[in-house]
Symmetry: C2
DNA sequence: AACAATTGTTGCAATATGCAACAATTGCGT
DNA sequence: ACGCAATTGTTGCATATTGCAACAATTGTT
């Protein structure tokens, strides 16, 4: 197996184990996977723009807008106007949203903690170092098959 | 940062870069992300059962059934009966399906090759070794938040 | 032979999707 | 200051996808 295929396999494995192909509306805390990601991202940044969120999650801004609307109607998220710019919107977590975020963090962290536990002690730091290198490498890459519209129909 | 968070970050990064939250119907070769995964999995196994496919991709069998139906109607996939069992279905690729698979492999491999290229030469084998360890560790884990129905509504 | 378990397909209502069009606002060039 | 382009976010819209539940068909078990 080629070395890049090892990375690809990890990717496939994560997709499977994390149920990323699902669009379930109740994965954790009564919200979908995509909404979990939204909540986490909003929480980490303490306020985001809709565009920023769409970009980070690699979603269309219309999709993002509606997704946020869903979170607002659940009382998890707040859409606030910014004083110095009446065009953009500042998206923040409500108290309920923060609670949800904590819960999501717990569930997710638990999962990844178990993964680390399953790695032999003496190999753990090696894995961490490698993952940091990998992270940097991935960050340098463009988005894959996203906005480039590779719609070539097969002959 | 805790060591498990490094792995989690990689996961988030992949979700973002690979556009896994998208349910775009035309990511590559005119099929969606989920369908790309289906095609790849069917191709790798040279014939799968619907249930197997649903399990591997962590999707409901009804969803899987319809997704396969979509691939059949596009002429990419074949649903065949098995001689010794008239209940199960054997799903295989058509010639067009194989062509699509090759294309998908190319696009995906290209992406992961670039990631490896972005890793310093002397560190590459380290990363590969670590990824193999990580892969084994992830395989040992259960599915995350999938069928367990953690539908606890937040207070 | 009777009954349980498995496999895959639909009915169904709800939701999500992205593109395009749009209004509101801001920035830029002159 | 004025006009025009660019940005930001929201909707209309048609389509696609989701999972649960119910179902028929088949297979396994006792």
């Amino acid at each position: 197996m080629k070395n890049y295929q090892v990375v690809r396999d990890i990717s496939r494995l994560l997709v499977r184990k994390l149920g990323l192909l699902r669009k379930n509306d109740a994965v954790c805390c009564g919200v979908s996977v995509a909404q979990c990601y939204s909540l986490t991202e909003i929480g980490r940044r303490e306020g985001v723009t809709l565009n920023e969120l769409a970009e980070v999650l690699n979603l269309d801004k219309s999709t993002m807008s509606r997704s946020v609307e869903g979170l607002v109607s659940r009382g998890l998220v707040l859409r606030q106007e910014i004083a110095d710019n009446r065009r953009t919107v500042n998206i923040t977590l409500t108290e309920q949203g923060k609670t949800a975020c904590v819960k999501i963090e717990q569930v997710t962290d638990e999962y990844f903690k178990n993964i680390m536990k399953a790695i032999p002690d003496e190999k753990r730091s090696l894995v961490v170092e490698a993952m940091q290198l990998l992270g940097k490498a991935i960050e340098k890459q463009k988005l894959c098959c996203s906005n480039e519209k590779i719609n070539e129909v097969i002959l």
